[in-house]
Amino acid sequence: MKLNTGERWDLIDRISKETVTFGAYQHTLKDAIGELTVKPMTGIPVAIAVMYGFWSVFGSFAGFFTDGFFVRLFDVYWLPWLQEVFPGQGDWLYAIMVDAGGFESGEFVLSSNCLESFGVLTSGLFVAIGVVLPAIIIFYLMLALLEDIGYMPRLAVLLDTVLHRVGLHGYAIVPTILSLGCNVPGVTATRILETKKQRFIMMTLLAIFIPCGAQIGIMQDVVPGLMGWILLYLIIGYFIFGYILNKIVPGKAPEFLIDVPPYRRPMLSNIGKKVWGRIAGFFKVAIPFVLLGCAIVGVLYQLGVIRFLGDALAPVFVGWFGVPKETAGPLIAAFLRKDLAVAQLSAITMTPYQMITAVVLVSIYFPCVATFAMMLKEGWKELLGALAVLTVVVFTYGGLIHLIGILLGVA
Protein backbone atom coordinates (compact mmCIF):
# COMPACT_ATOMS: atom_id res chain seq x y z
CA MET A 1 0.00 0.00 0.00
CA LYS A 2 1.39 3.38 -0.98
CA LEU A 3 0.24 6.63 0.76
CA ASN A 4 0.54 10.10 -0.68
CA THR A 5 1.75 13.03 1.45
CA GLY A 6 -1.73 14.11 2.54
CA GLU A 7 -2.72 10.60 3.54
CA ARG A 8 0.49 10.25 5.58
CA TRP A 9 -0.29 13.43 7.52
CA ASP A 10 -3.85 12.20 8.15
CA LEU A 11 -2.48 8.92 9.46
CA ILE A 12 -0.05 10.79 11.74
CA ASP A 13 -2.91 12.94 13.07
CA ARG A 14 -5.07 9.88 13.81
CA ILE A 15 -2.21 8.07 15.61
CA SER A 16 -1.26 11.12 17.67
CA LYS A 17 -4.92 11.72 18.70
CA GLU A 18 -5.10 8.18 20.02
CA THR A 19 -1.72 8.11 21.73
CA VAL A 20 -0.79 11.62 22.85
CA THR A 21 -2.42 13.42 25.79
CA PHE A 22 -2.30 17.21 25.52
CA GLY A 23 -2.34 19.53 28.52
CA ALA A 24 -0.29 22.02 30.50
CA TYR A 25 2.83 20.41 31.95
CA GLN A 26 3.39 21.15 35.59
CA HIS A 27 6.97 21.28 36.78
CA THR A 28 7.92 18.94 39.59
CA LEU A 29 10.59 19.63 42.20
CA LYS A 30 12.92 17.28 40.31
CA ASP A 31 12.44 19.33 37.12
CA ALA A 32 13.11 22.58 38.97
CA ILE A 33 16.28 21.21 40.60
CA GLY A 34 17.35 19.87 37.20
CA GLU A 35 17.00 23.36 35.72
CA LEU A 36 18.98 24.91 38.57
CA THR A 37 21.93 22.64 37.85
CA VAL A 38 22.26 23.68 34.19
CA LYS A 39 21.79 27.45 34.55
CA PRO A 40 25.25 29.06 35.02
CA MET A 41 24.24 31.33 37.94
CA THR A 42 23.04 28.41 40.05
CA GLY A 43 24.71 25.51 38.24
CA ILE A 44 28.30 26.67 38.83
CA PRO A 45 27.93 26.74 42.66
CA VAL A 46 26.40 23.27 42.48
CA ALA A 47 29.27 22.05 40.26
CA ILE A 48 31.77 23.50 42.76
CA ALA A 49 29.99 21.58 45.54
CA VAL A 50 29.91 18.34 43.54
CA MET A 51 33.65 18.57 42.83
CA TYR A 52 34.30 19.33 46.51
CA GLY A 53 32.30 16.24 47.54
CA PHE A 54 34.11 14.16 44.92
CA TRP A 55 37.61 15.08 46.10
CA SER A 56 36.78 15.10 49.79
CA VAL A 57 35.38 11.56 49.68
CA PHE A 58 38.28 10.53 47.41
CA GLY A 59 40.86 11.84 49.90
CA SER A 60 39.16 10.38 52.98
CA PHE A 61 38.60 6.95 51.41
CA ALA A 62 42.08 6.64 49.86
CA GLY A 63 43.73 7.96 53.04
CA PHE A 64 41.74 5.51 55.17
CA PHE A 65 43.10 2.47 53.30
CA THR A 66 46.55 3.73 52.28
CA ASP A 67 47.69 5.62 55.40
CA GLY A 68 45.45 3.74 57.82
CA PHE A 69 46.44 0.21 56.86
CA PHE A 70 48.57 -0.35 53.73
CA VAL A 71 51.53 1.86 54.71
CA ARG A 72 51.97 -0.12 57.90
CA LEU A 73 51.33 -3.48 56.22
CA PHE A 74 53.95 -2.83 53.54
CA ASP A 75 56.55 -0.86 55.51
CA VAL A 76 56.47 -2.71 58.82
CA TYR A 77 55.75 -6.29 57.73
CA TRP A 78 56.14 -6.88 53.96
CA LEU A 79 59.35 -4.90 53.25
CA PRO A 80 61.47 -6.15 56.21
CA TRP A 81 60.31 -9.73 55.57
CA LEU A 82 61.27 -9.58 51.88
CA GLN A 83 64.56 -7.82 52.67
CA GLU A 84 65.40 -10.75 54.92
CA VAL A 85 64.24 -13.74 52.89
CA PHE A 86 65.12 -12.64 49.34
CA PRO A 87 68.59 -13.94 48.51
CA GLY A 88 71.54 -11.91 47.20
CA GLN A 89 71.31 -8.67 49.17
CA GLY A 90 73.15 -5.91 47.29
CA ASP A 91 73.24 -7.60 43.87
CA TRP A 92 71.35 -6.40 40.79
CA LEU A 93 68.39 -8.83 40.98
CA TYR A 94 67.85 -7.95 44.64
CA ALA A 95 67.94 -4.25 43.73
CA ILE A 96 65.39 -4.66 40.93
CA MET A 97 63.00 -6.98 42.76
CA VAL A 98 63.25 -5.87 46.41
CA ASP A 99 65.39 -2.90 47.37
CA ALA A 100 67.79 -0.70 45.43
CA GLY A 101 68.90 0.67 48.82
CA GLY A 102 71.75 3.13 49.04
CA PHE A 103 75.34 3.44 50.09
CA GLU A 104 76.48 5.26 53.22
CA SER A 105 80.25 5.45 53.84
CA GLY A 106 80.77 2.71 51.27
CA GLU A 107 78.31 0.32 52.96
CA PHE A 108 75.02 -0.95 51.47
CA VAL A 109 72.05 0.38 53.47
CA LEU A 110 68.50 -1.02 53.16
CA SER A 111 65.55 1.32 52.60
CA SER A 112 63.15 1.97 55.45
CA ASN A 113 59.94 2.21 53.43
CA CYS A 114 58.34 0.96 50.24
CA LEU A 115 58.34 4.37 48.54
CA GLU A 116 62.14 4.48 48.64
CA SER A 117 63.05 0.85 47.92
CA PHE A 118 62.04 0.90 44.19
CA GLY A 119 61.76 -2.87 43.94
CA VAL A 120 59.10 -4.58 41.81
CA LEU A 121 57.83 -6.60 44.79
CA THR A 122 58.03 -3.69 47.22
CA SER A 123 57.45 -0.27 45.60
CA GLY A 124 55.68 -1.86 42.61
CA LEU A 125 53.18 -3.80 44.71
CA PHE A 126 52.76 -1.01 47.26
CA VAL A 127 51.97 1.57 44.58
CA ALA A 128 49.69 -0.81 42.64
CA ILE A 129 47.73 -2.24 45.58
CA GLY A 130 48.35 0.06 48.53
CA VAL A 131 48.03 3.43 46.79
CA VAL A 132 46.44 3.13 43.36
CA LEU A 133 43.77 0.50 44.01
CA PRO A 134 41.87 2.38 46.80
CA ALA A 135 42.15 5.62 44.78
CA ILE A 136 40.82 3.98 41.62
CA ILE A 137 37.95 2.17 43.39
CA ILE A 138 36.59 5.33 45.02
CA PHE A 139 37.18 7.40 41.88
CA TYR A 140 35.19 5.07 39.62
CA LEU A 141 32.51 4.60 42.31
CA MET A 142 31.92 8.35 42.56
CA LEU A 143 31.99 8.75 38.78
CA ALA A 144 29.46 5.94 38.29
CA LEU A 145 27.22 7.51 40.93
CA LEU A 146 27.28 10.90 39.18
CA GLU A 147 26.57 9.23 35.82
CA ASP A 148 23.69 7.16 37.20
CA ILE A 149 22.05 10.09 38.97
CA GLY A 150 22.13 12.02 35.69
CA TYR A 151 24.52 14.79 36.73
CA MET A 152 27.20 14.27 34.05
CA PRO A 153 25.09 15.49 31.07
CA ARG A 154 24.25 18.60 33.11
CA LEU A 155 27.93 19.20 33.79
CA ALA A 156 28.54 18.84 30.03
CA VAL A 157 25.90 21.50 29.29
CA LEU A 158 27.25 23.78 32.00
CA LEU A 159 30.85 23.60 30.77
CA ASP A 160 30.00 23.75 27.07
CA THR A 161 30.70 27.48 26.71
CA VAL A 162 34.02 27.28 28.54
CA LEU A 163 35.17 24.23 26.59
CA HIS A 164 34.29 25.90 23.27
CA ARG A 165 37.06 28.39 24.08
CA VAL A 166 39.56 25.53 23.77
CA GLY A 167 37.99 24.11 20.57
CA LEU A 168 36.00 21.42 22.37
CA HIS A 169 32.41 21.13 23.58
CA GLY A 170 30.60 19.97 26.69
CA TYR A 171 31.08 16.25 25.95
CA ALA A 172 34.85 16.77 26.35
CA ILE A 173 34.23 16.63 30.09
CA VAL A 174 33.72 12.84 29.76
CA PRO A 175 37.28 11.98 28.54
CA THR A 176 38.69 14.67 30.86
CA ILE A 177 37.10 13.18 33.98
CA LEU A 178 37.76 9.59 32.84
CA SER A 179 41.43 10.51 32.45
CA LEU A 180 41.58 11.55 36.08
CA GLY A 181 41.08 7.82 36.76
CA CYS A 182 43.36 6.48 34.02
CA ASN A 183 44.49 8.24 30.82
CA VAL A 184 44.02 5.05 28.76
CA PRO A 185 40.17 4.98 28.80
CA GLY A 186 40.32 8.78 28.55
CA VAL A 187 42.15 8.57 25.22
CA THR A 188 39.64 5.97 23.99
CA ALA A 189 36.75 8.22 25.05
CA THR A 190 38.02 11.02 22.77
CA ARG A 191 36.18 9.12 20.00
CA ILE A 192 32.92 10.67 21.19
CA LEU A 193 34.19 13.99 19.76
CA GLU A 194 33.16 14.56 16.16
CA THR A 195 36.10 16.11 14.32
CA LYS A 196 39.81 15.25 13.97
CA LYS A 197 40.70 18.69 15.34
CA GLN A 198 38.69 18.11 18.51
CA ARG A 199 40.11 14.62 19.03
CA PHE A 200 43.67 15.90 18.53
CA ILE A 201 43.22 18.79 20.98
CA MET A 202 41.56 16.54 23.54
CA MET A 203 44.17 13.78 23.29
CA THR A 204 47.03 16.27 23.57
CA LEU A 205 45.51 18.04 26.58
CA LEU A 206 44.80 14.71 28.32
CA ALA A 207 48.32 13.44 27.77
CA ILE A 208 49.85 16.65 29.08
CA PHE A 209 47.66 18.22 31.72
CA ILE A 210 45.46 15.51 33.26
CA PRO A 211 47.16 13.52 36.03
CA CYS A 212 45.85 9.94 36.33
CA GLY A 213 44.35 8.41 39.48
CA ALA A 214 47.61 6.62 40.28
CA GLN A 215 49.52 9.88 40.18
CA ILE A 216 46.86 11.77 42.15
CA GLY A 217 46.81 8.97 44.74
CA ILE A 218 50.55 9.14 45.26
CA MET A 219 50.53 12.97 45.27
CA GLN A 220 47.85 12.84 47.96
CA ASP A 221 50.09 10.51 49.91
CA VAL A 222 53.49 12.22 49.60
CA VAL A 223 52.78 15.93 48.95
CA PRO A 224 49.23 16.49 50.29
CA GLY A 225 49.85 20.14 51.21
CA LEU A 226 50.92 21.07 47.68
CA MET A 227 48.12 19.28 45.81
CA GLY A 228 46.00 22.42 45.37
CA TRP A 229 48.83 24.42 43.76
CA ILE A 230 49.87 21.56 41.50
CA LEU A 231 46.30 21.03 40.25
CA LEU A 232 45.84 24.79 39.80
CA TYR A 233 48.92 24.97 37.54
CA LEU A 234 47.64 22.00 35.53
CA ILE A 235 44.12 23.48 35.11
CA ILE A 236 45.55 26.85 34.00
CA GLY A 237 47.86 25.06 31.55
CA TYR A 238 44.92 22.99 30.20
CA PHE A 239 43.03 26.15 29.24
CA ILE A 240 45.99 28.27 28.05
CA PHE A 241 47.38 25.61 25.73
CA GLY A 242 43.89 24.44 24.71
CA TYR A 243 43.15 28.02 23.63
CA ILE A 244 46.41 28.20 21.64
CA LEU A 245 45.81 24.79 20.02
CA ASN A 246 42.28 25.87 19.04
CA LYS A 247 43.78 28.87 17.24
CA ILE A 248 46.55 27.02 15.38
CA VAL A 249 45.08 23.58 14.63
CA PRO A 250 43.03 23.63 11.40
CA GLY A 251 39.57 22.04 11.33
CA LYS A 252 36.09 22.46 12.75
CA ALA A 253 34.76 22.49 16.29
CA PRO A 254 31.01 21.93 15.91
CA GLU A 255 28.23 22.60 18.42
CA PHE A 256 26.67 19.66 20.21
CA LEU A 257 23.10 18.66 20.97
CA ILE A 258 22.40 16.66 24.09
CA ASP A 259 19.26 15.17 25.58
CA VAL A 260 19.51 15.90 29.29
CA PRO A 261 17.80 13.07 31.17
CA PRO A 262 15.83 13.66 34.37
CA TYR A 263 17.52 13.00 37.71
CA ARG A 264 17.06 9.39 38.74
CA ARG A 265 17.66 7.29 41.81
CA PRO A 266 20.96 5.44 41.17
CA MET A 267 20.70 1.67 40.68
CA LEU A 268 23.12 -0.39 42.71
CA SER A 269 23.42 -3.07 40.00
CA ASN A 270 24.29 -0.44 37.34
CA ILE A 271 26.92 1.16 39.57
CA GLY A 272 28.36 -2.24 40.50
CA LYS A 273 28.69 -3.29 36.85
CA LYS A 274 30.29 0.00 35.77
CA VAL A 275 32.77 0.11 38.66
CA TRP A 276 33.71 -3.55 38.24
CA GLY A 277 34.16 -3.20 34.45
CA ARG A 278 36.41 -0.16 34.82
CA ILE A 279 38.47 -1.61 37.66
CA ALA A 280 38.90 -4.88 35.75
CA GLY A 281 40.06 -2.86 32.72
CA PHE A 282 42.43 -0.90 34.92
CA PHE A 283 43.87 -4.12 36.35
CA LYS A 284 44.47 -5.54 32.87
CA VAL A 285 46.09 -2.39 31.45
CA ALA A 286 47.67 -0.47 34.29
CA ILE A 287 48.81 -2.97 36.93
CA PRO A 288 51.16 -4.89 34.57
CA PHE A 289 52.57 -1.53 33.47
CA VAL A 290 53.19 -0.50 37.10
CA LEU A 291 55.16 -3.68 37.77
CA LEU A 292 56.91 -3.74 34.38
CA GLY A 293 57.65 -0.02 34.60
CA CYS A 294 59.15 -0.54 38.04
CA ALA A 295 61.36 -3.34 36.71
CA ILE A 296 62.55 -1.31 33.69
CA VAL A 297 63.30 1.74 35.86
CA GLY A 298 65.28 -0.57 38.16
CA VAL A 299 67.26 -2.02 35.23
CA LEU A 300 67.98 1.45 33.80
CA TYR A 301 69.20 2.62 37.21
CA GLN A 302 71.39 -0.47 37.56
CA LEU A 303 72.90 0.09 34.11
CA GLY A 304 73.58 3.73 34.98
CA VAL A 305 71.47 4.99 32.04
CA ILE A 306 69.28 7.24 34.16
CA ARG A 307 72.26 8.66 36.03
CA PHE A 308 74.00 9.37 32.71
CA LEU A 309 70.93 11.09 31.24
CA GLY A 310 70.38 12.93 34.49
CA ASP A 311 73.93 14.31 34.45
CA ALA A 312 73.66 15.22 30.76
CA LEU A 313 70.35 17.04 31.20
CA ALA A 314 71.17 18.58 34.58
CA PRO A 315 71.93 22.09 33.19
CA VAL A 316 68.45 22.20 31.61
CA PHE A 317 66.73 21.07 34.79
CA VAL A 318 68.67 23.40 37.08
CA GLY A 319 68.94 26.43 34.78
CA TRP A 320 65.66 26.38 32.87
CA PHE A 321 63.20 24.63 35.20
CA GLY A 322 64.82 25.66 38.50
CA VAL A 323 64.68 22.18 40.07
CA PRO A 324 67.62 20.29 41.66
CA LYS A 325 69.85 18.15 39.44
CA GLU A 326 68.67 14.97 41.23
CA THR A 327 65.14 15.39 39.78
CA ALA A 328 66.46 14.49 36.32
CA GLY A 329 66.37 10.75 37.17
CA PRO A 330 62.72 10.67 38.32
CA LEU A 331 61.69 12.87 35.38
CA ILE A 332 63.24 10.42 32.94
CA ALA A 333 61.71 7.48 34.81
CA ALA A 334 58.31 9.26 34.57
CA PHE A 335 57.98 8.01 31.01
CA LEU A 336 57.48 4.54 32.47
CA ARG A 337 55.53 5.35 35.64
CA LYS A 338 54.51 8.84 36.69
CA ASP A 339 53.32 7.65 40.09
CA LEU A 340 56.70 6.09 40.85
CA ALA A 341 58.40 9.27 39.65
CA VAL A 342 56.40 11.36 42.15
CA ALA A 343 57.37 8.89 44.88
CA GLN A 344 61.02 9.28 43.86
CA LEU A 345 60.71 13.07 43.94
CA SER A 346 59.43 12.94 47.51
CA ALA A 347 62.79 11.50 48.59
CA ILE A 348 64.74 14.51 47.20
CA THR A 349 65.38 17.58 49.36
CA MET A 350 63.67 20.56 47.70
CA THR A 351 61.89 23.78 48.54
CA PRO A 352 58.05 23.57 48.35
CA TYR A 353 58.06 25.62 45.12
CA GLN A 354 60.66 23.34 43.54
CA MET A 355 58.50 20.37 44.53
CA ILE A 356 55.43 21.98 42.89
CA THR A 357 57.48 22.64 39.72
CA ALA A 358 58.93 19.10 39.69
CA VAL A 359 55.54 17.40 40.15
CA VAL A 360 53.92 19.62 37.49
CA LEU A 361 56.84 18.73 35.16
CA VAL A 362 56.28 15.02 35.84
CA SER A 363 52.62 15.48 34.87
CA ILE A 364 53.20 17.44 31.67
CA TYR A 365 56.50 15.87 30.69
CA PHE A 366 55.39 12.78 28.77
CA PRO A 367 52.41 10.41 28.69
CA CYS A 368 53.11 7.12 30.47
CA VAL A 369 53.87 4.09 28.26
CA ALA A 370 50.27 2.75 28.46
CA THR A 371 48.82 6.07 27.27
CA PHE A 372 51.56 6.35 24.66
CA ALA A 373 50.56 2.93 23.25
CA MET A 374 46.87 3.90 23.24
CA MET A 375 47.64 7.17 21.40
CA LEU A 376 49.64 5.25 18.83
CA LYS A 377 46.58 3.05 18.28
CA GLU A 378 44.54 6.18 17.52
CA GLY A 379 47.00 7.16 14.74
CA TRP A 380 50.74 7.79 14.47
CA LYS A 381 50.28 11.24 12.90
CA GLU A 382 48.20 12.35 15.87
CA LEU A 383 50.78 10.87 18.24
CA LEU A 384 53.67 12.70 16.55
CA GLY A 385 51.69 15.94 16.56
CA ALA A 386 50.84 15.51 20.24
CA LEU A 387 54.49 14.84 21.08
CA ALA A 388 55.62 17.94 19.18
CA VAL A 389 53.11 20.05 21.13
CA LEU A 390 54.16 18.35 24.33
CA THR A 391 57.84 19.19 23.82
CA VAL A 392 57.00 22.86 23.26
CA VAL A 393 54.63 22.89 26.25
CA VAL A 394 57.14 21.31 28.64
CA PHE A 395 59.81 23.88 27.85
CA THR A 396 57.56 26.95 27.74
CA TYR A 397 55.30 26.05 30.68
CA GLY A 398 58.15 24.62 32.80
CA GLY A 399 60.19 27.78 32.18
CA LEU A 400 57.15 29.96 32.85
CA ILE A 401 56.51 28.30 36.23
CA HIS A 402 60.18 28.89 37.10
CA LEU A 403 59.86 32.53 36.02
CA ILE A 404 56.71 33.00 38.16
CA GLY A 405 58.65 31.57 41.11
CA ILE A 406 61.54 33.98 40.50
CA LEU A 407 59.14 36.96 40.28
CA LEU A 408 57.38 35.87 43.48
CA GLY A 409 60.75 35.34 45.16
CA VAL A 410 60.06 31.69 45.99
CA ALA A 411 62.06 29.85 43.30
Binding site: H27, L36, P45, V46, I48, S60, D67, G68, G228
Partner: protein, 160 residues
Amino acid sequence: MAGQSSGGAVYFAILGVVTTAFGLADLLVTASGSEFAYGGILEMPGDIFRGGWGGIIVLFAGLFYLSGIRNFDDIHQFAKVVMGSILIWVVAGCDIFAMITESIPSWNEETGPWFNTLPDFIAAYAPPYAPAVLLLPFSLVVIYYVRKRASGEDGGGNSP
Protein backbone atom coordinates in the same frame (compact mmCIF):
# COMPACT_ATOMS: atom_id res chain seq x y z
CA MET B 1 -1.45 26.66 54.28
CA ALA B 2 -0.34 30.18 53.50
CA GLY B 3 0.57 30.68 57.17
CA GLN B 4 2.67 27.53 57.12
CA SER B 5 4.42 28.67 53.93
CA SER B 6 5.23 32.07 55.39
CA GLY B 7 6.51 30.25 58.49
CA GLY B 8 8.81 28.29 56.20
CA ALA B 9 9.97 31.44 54.45
CA VAL B 10 10.82 33.08 57.79
CA TYR B 11 12.60 29.96 59.01
CA PHE B 12 14.75 29.69 55.88
CA ALA B 13 15.39 33.43 55.87
CA ILE B 14 16.91 33.14 59.35
CA LEU B 15 18.79 29.98 58.36
CA GLY B 16 19.98 31.74 55.21
CA VAL B 17 21.40 34.67 57.16
CA VAL B 18 23.16 32.35 59.64
CA THR B 19 24.50 30.12 56.84
CA THR B 20 25.77 33.09 54.84
CA ALA B 21 27.47 34.46 57.96
CA PHE B 22 29.12 31.08 58.61
CA GLY B 23 30.30 30.90 54.99
CA LEU B 24 31.82 34.37 55.13
CA ALA B 25 33.43 33.62 58.50
CA ASP B 26 34.89 30.39 57.06
CA LEU B 27 36.47 32.36 54.22
CA LEU B 28 37.82 35.05 56.53
CA VAL B 29 39.34 32.46 58.88
CA THR B 30 40.97 30.67 55.92
CA ALA B 31 42.29 33.97 54.56
CA SER B 32 43.82 34.74 57.96
CA GLY B 33 45.63 31.38 57.85
CA SER B 34 44.63 30.35 61.36
CA GLU B 35 41.89 28.22 62.92
CA PHE B 36 38.96 29.60 64.91
CA ALA B 37 37.13 27.85 67.75
CA TYR B 38 34.20 29.03 69.88
CA GLY B 39 32.61 27.61 73.02
CA GLY B 40 33.99 24.11 72.55
CA ILE B 41 31.35 23.36 69.94
CA LEU B 42 32.33 25.34 66.83
CA GLU B 43 35.60 25.05 64.97
CA MET B 44 36.41 26.66 61.65
CA PRO B 45 39.18 24.90 59.75
CA GLY B 46 41.86 27.22 58.40
CA ASP B 47 43.02 24.97 55.55
CA ILE B 48 42.35 25.96 51.96
CA PHE B 49 40.33 22.81 51.18
CA ARG B 50 37.80 22.52 54.03
CA GLY B 51 37.89 26.14 55.12
CA GLY B 52 38.28 27.82 51.73
CA TRP B 53 36.53 25.56 49.23
CA GLY B 54 34.06 24.28 51.86
CA GLY B 55 33.45 27.86 53.06
CA ILE B 56 32.53 28.99 49.55
CA ILE B 57 29.94 26.21 49.33
CA VAL B 58 28.43 27.13 52.72
CA LEU B 59 28.26 30.74 51.51
CA PHE B 60 26.49 29.62 48.32
CA ALA B 61 24.07 27.54 50.42
CA GLY B 62 23.17 30.67 52.40
CA LEU B 63 22.64 32.65 49.19
CA PHE B 64 20.44 29.88 47.77
CA TYR B 65 18.27 30.05 50.92
CA LEU B 66 18.01 33.83 50.76
CA SER B 67 17.19 33.92 47.06
CA GLY B 68 14.55 31.19 47.44
CA ILE B 69 12.47 32.63 50.27
CA ARG B 70 10.67 35.21 48.12
CA ASN B 71 7.52 33.59 46.70
CA PHE B 72 8.32 30.45 48.68
CA ASP B 73 5.31 28.55 47.24
CA ASP B 74 6.63 28.72 43.69
CA ILE B 75 8.26 25.43 42.77
CA HIS B 76 11.33 27.10 41.21
CA GLN B 77 11.90 29.28 44.26
CA PHE B 78 11.37 26.34 46.60
CA ALA B 79 13.92 24.35 44.56
CA LYS B 80 16.55 26.96 45.47
CA VAL B 81 15.83 26.41 49.16
CA VAL B 82 16.14 22.64 48.65
CA MET B 83 19.40 23.20 46.78
CA GLY B 84 20.72 25.27 49.70
CA SER B 85 20.10 22.31 52.00
CA ILE B 86 21.68 19.90 49.52
CA LEU B 87 24.88 22.00 49.48
CA ILE B 88 25.03 21.88 53.29
CA TRP B 89 24.49 18.09 53.16
CA VAL B 90 27.42 17.75 50.72
CA VAL B 91 29.84 19.66 52.97
CA ALA B 92 28.58 18.19 56.24
CA GLY B 93 28.42 14.69 54.73
CA CYS B 94 32.06 14.97 53.65
CA ASP B 95 33.06 16.20 57.15
CA ILE B 96 31.22 13.29 58.78
CA PHE B 97 32.70 10.79 56.31
CA ALA B 98 36.17 12.16 57.11
CA MET B 99 35.41 11.72 60.85
CA ILE B 100 34.38 8.11 60.26
CA THR B 101 37.48 7.24 58.22
CA GLU B 102 39.73 8.92 60.78
CA SER B 103 38.08 7.20 63.76
CA ILE B 104 38.59 3.56 62.69
CA PRO B 105 42.35 2.95 62.16
CA SER B 106 44.80 3.43 65.02
CA TRP B 107 47.13 5.43 62.70
CA ASN B 108 50.00 3.70 64.44
CA GLU B 109 52.81 3.32 61.91
CA GLU B 110 54.95 0.90 63.87
CA THR B 111 53.40 -1.58 66.29
CA GLY B 112 50.28 -1.84 68.44
CA PRO B 113 46.68 -2.45 67.44
CA TRP B 114 45.51 -1.89 63.88
CA PHE B 115 42.19 -0.39 64.97
CA ASN B 116 41.38 2.49 67.28
CA THR B 117 40.45 1.89 70.92
CA LEU B 118 36.79 2.40 71.84
CA PRO B 119 37.37 5.61 73.87
CA ASP B 120 39.44 7.15 71.03
CA PHE B 121 36.87 5.99 68.49
CA ILE B 122 34.06 7.73 70.41
CA ALA B 123 36.24 10.80 71.08
CA ALA B 124 36.66 11.25 67.31
CA TYR B 125 32.96 12.18 67.10
CA ALA B 126 33.00 14.66 69.99
CA PRO B 127 32.71 18.43 69.36
CA PRO B 128 33.94 20.92 68.21
CA TYR B 129 32.30 20.64 64.79
CA ALA B 130 32.68 22.53 61.51
CA PRO B 131 29.88 25.05 60.65
CA ALA B 132 28.28 22.77 58.04
CA VAL B 133 27.88 19.96 60.61
CA LEU B 134 26.21 22.39 63.04
CA LEU B 135 23.90 23.63 60.27
CA LEU B 136 23.01 20.08 59.19
CA PRO B 137 20.07 19.41 61.60
CA PHE B 138 18.54 22.79 60.80
CA SER B 139 18.83 22.18 57.07
CA LEU B 140 16.93 18.88 57.39
CA VAL B 141 13.72 20.84 58.05
CA VAL B 142 13.47 21.19 54.27
CA ILE B 143 12.48 17.50 54.10
CA TYR B 144 9.26 18.34 55.96
CA TYR B 145 8.39 20.95 53.33
CA VAL B 146 9.31 18.61 50.46
CA ARG B 147 7.00 15.93 51.88
CA LYS B 148 4.24 18.44 52.50
CA ARG B 149 4.49 19.66 48.93
CA ALA B 150 4.56 16.07 47.62
CA SER B 151 1.39 15.19 49.56
CA GLY B 152 -0.21 18.37 48.14
CA GLU B 153 0.73 17.26 44.62
CA ASP B 154 -0.75 13.79 45.24
CA GLY B 155 -3.97 15.50 46.20
CA GLY B 156 -4.00 17.30 42.88
CA GLY B 157 -2.57 20.64 43.96
CA ASN B 158 0.63 21.95 42.45
CA SER B 159 2.06 25.34 41.96
CA PRO B 160 2.80 26.15 38.33
